[in-house]
């Protein structure tokens, strides 16, 4: 569960990125967070991942209160998240299998768990036949699937996808969105941050729209009210 309660965020240079943002995403929900550049989307992601702390208000993520979380607790909070980036952020000198296994290894998973879980996740994202390939040998869509597999492998409660289709053509974008929807149907909460109107409108999901650091609309369907 994600909850923002009257969250304000100002940066040291004086920029007021968020001005009293409140919303709640229940466990198992699928939601889009949309808005133009500079609207505050990235700040919301950084708050969710604990990279920054709110100036005022409370941020609750999977039973952790990020407004006053101890630094030593942060890794454990992050283990409840899976994060997917626009630029995939894969390790070039590791194979597909190793990229996914790496995410398990660094949180102390045993070799047995890794051998059991990684093939399952790779099959889920449709990359079981490409596990020995390296990222540079894959298409953009396939690389993003690897990133989704990595985000998924530790069985997170919430997947945050930051512009996951930003570098992909429409057909590959749709595939990635279908995959995220499938993951959501399996019980994982999914929050997709994007500014791609067509993509959002093709799914009948909750859309939280932000502009100027404020929530301007929050509702079901392809609602895209910030359009100018």
């Amino acid at each position: 569960m994600v909850q923002f309660i009257d969250v304000f965020k100002s940066y040291e240079n004086g920029t007021k990125a968020l001005r009293g943002v409140s919303f709640k995403i229940q466990d198992g929900e699928f939601a889009f967070l949309v808005g133009p550049s500079g609207s505050g989307k990235t700040t919301i992601i950084k708050l969710l991942t604990g990279e920054i702390a709110p100036t005022d208000g409370r941020v609750l993520v999977n039973d952790y209160d990020l407004s006053n979380i101890k630094f030593s607790k942060m890794p454990y909070m992050r283990r409840t998240l899976g994060i997917v980036f626009q630029d995939y952020r894969l390790i070039e000198d590791k194979s597909v299998y190793e990229n996914v296994a790496f995410a398990m290894r660094v949180i102390g998973a045993s070799a047995k768990e890794i051998r059991r879980r990684v093939p399952y996740v790779l099959e889920l994202v449709g990359l079981d036949t490409r596990s020995r390939r390296h990222p540079q040998e894959l298409s953009g869509g396939e690389q993003q699937r690897v990133a989704i597999a990595r985000a998924l492998v530790n069985n997170p409660r919430l997947i945050i996808a930051d512009e996951p289709t930003g570098n992909l053509d429409p057909a590959r974008s749709l595939e990635i969105m279908m995959l995220l929807q499938k993951i959501n149907e399996l019980g994982t909460t999914v929050l997709v941050v994007t500014h791609e109107k067509e993509l959002v409108e093709s799914f009948s999901k909750r859309v939280i729209a932000i502009d100027g650091g404020k929530i301007i609309s929050d509702g079901m369907g392809g609602y895209y009210s910030y359009e100018r």
Binding site: R79, R89, V106, G108, A111
Partner: protein, 295 residues
């Protein structure tokens, strides 16, 4: 620490060394150079110290007793001399003993016929605790009643003390300087590794790796480089010491000096080198990685 994690840290640390072999080689070379310079000055200081200790135990102040005193009166001066600060012991040498010792130094004593011990005064051989305070002790003894003269090799002693002080100061300054230089180089080597692996570190943070887990492979890398540097420099220092003491100095007219055998100092030197190497490796790697762990 779980076994699989331990091996992961070791494997990652070793991989990093080979993946950045040139910088690893450079940092080992710097550590070796710094340790050899540090070690050489320490060995020099130890040897000068030993020479001075030997001189302290062998050299004495000669205290000449007033000629008019009887032997009993002269002997009674002993406790007064030993009560002077910095005096470790005072050995009474009667005029008869001194005369006999004097004659013993000559094979042909016929030239001294007609002379007797009356020409030599009673004396004390006084041994000091610290030759650096020789001048003050000499003055203190001279002020005692019944003492005619106090003879001391003051200039030679002061020369040695000055050398010891200079060597000690230079050693300390060099050790401190070189420690920080090694630290800087080691830190930069590992910083280069961390910079190349910054994406990997970011991913580790993102998926919930603890700072300890991220830090350990870099610490292992630093420890291994530090240890290799320490071992190489120990062996080189050993060879260098043998070469200098046995071949160069002994063959160049310094035979009157005795040097400490390296084997006598090997364990403390190895321990210090290992401690410095491991310390530089650990601190250097912790400094290098700390900025990446703030998030």
């Amino acid at each position: 620490m779980k076994g699989n994690r331990f091996f992961y840290y070791i494997r990652e640390g070793i991989n990093s060394i080979f993946n950045h072999s040139f910088m690893s080689f450079a940092s080992v070379c710097i550590i070796v150079a710094c340790l050899i310079i540090m070690g050489s000055f320490t060995l020099l200081a130890l040897n000068v110290d030993t020479v001075i200790d030997t001189m302290e135990s062998q050299n004495e102040i000669l205290v000449v007793v007033n000629d008019s005193l009887t032997e009993d009166q002269a002997r009674s001066l002993g406790p007064l001399i030993e009560a002077v600060p910095n005096v470790s012991r005072a050995v009474f040498v009667s005029r008869d003993k001194a005369w006999a010792d004097f004659l013993d130094t000559y094979e042909d004593t016929s030239r001294f016929e007609g002379l007797d011990s009356g020409i030599i005064p009673d004396r004390y051989e006084v041994f000091l605790e610290d030759i650096a305070l020789m001048k003050q002790t000499q003055q203190d003894i001279a002020e005692l009643p019944g003492v005619t003269d106090v003879m001391a090799a003051l200039t030679i002693m002061q020369g040695f003390v000055r050398i010891r002080n200079i060597v000690t100061i230079i050693s300390l300054v060099l050790v401190a300087m070189l420690f920080f230089i090694s630290l800087f180089i080691m830190s930069n080597t590992i910083k280069l590794t961390t910079f190349e692996r910054r994406d990997e570190i970011a991913i580790m943070k993102m998926v919930g790796a603890t700072s300890t887990f991220i830090r350990w492979p870099f610490v292992v890398q630093g420890l291994i480089l530090g240890l290799i540097g320490a071992l190489v420099s120990f062996l080189m220092e050993w060879g260098l010491y043998q070469l200098v003491t046995e071949k160069l100095i002994s063959g160049a007219g310094f035979g009157f000096l005795t040097f400490l055998p390296f084997s006598q100092m090997a364990i403390p030197i190895l321990a210090v080198f290992a401690a410095v190497g491991l310390g530089v490796g650990t601190i250097g790697s912790l400094l290098a990685i700390k900025n990446y762990l703030k998030v």
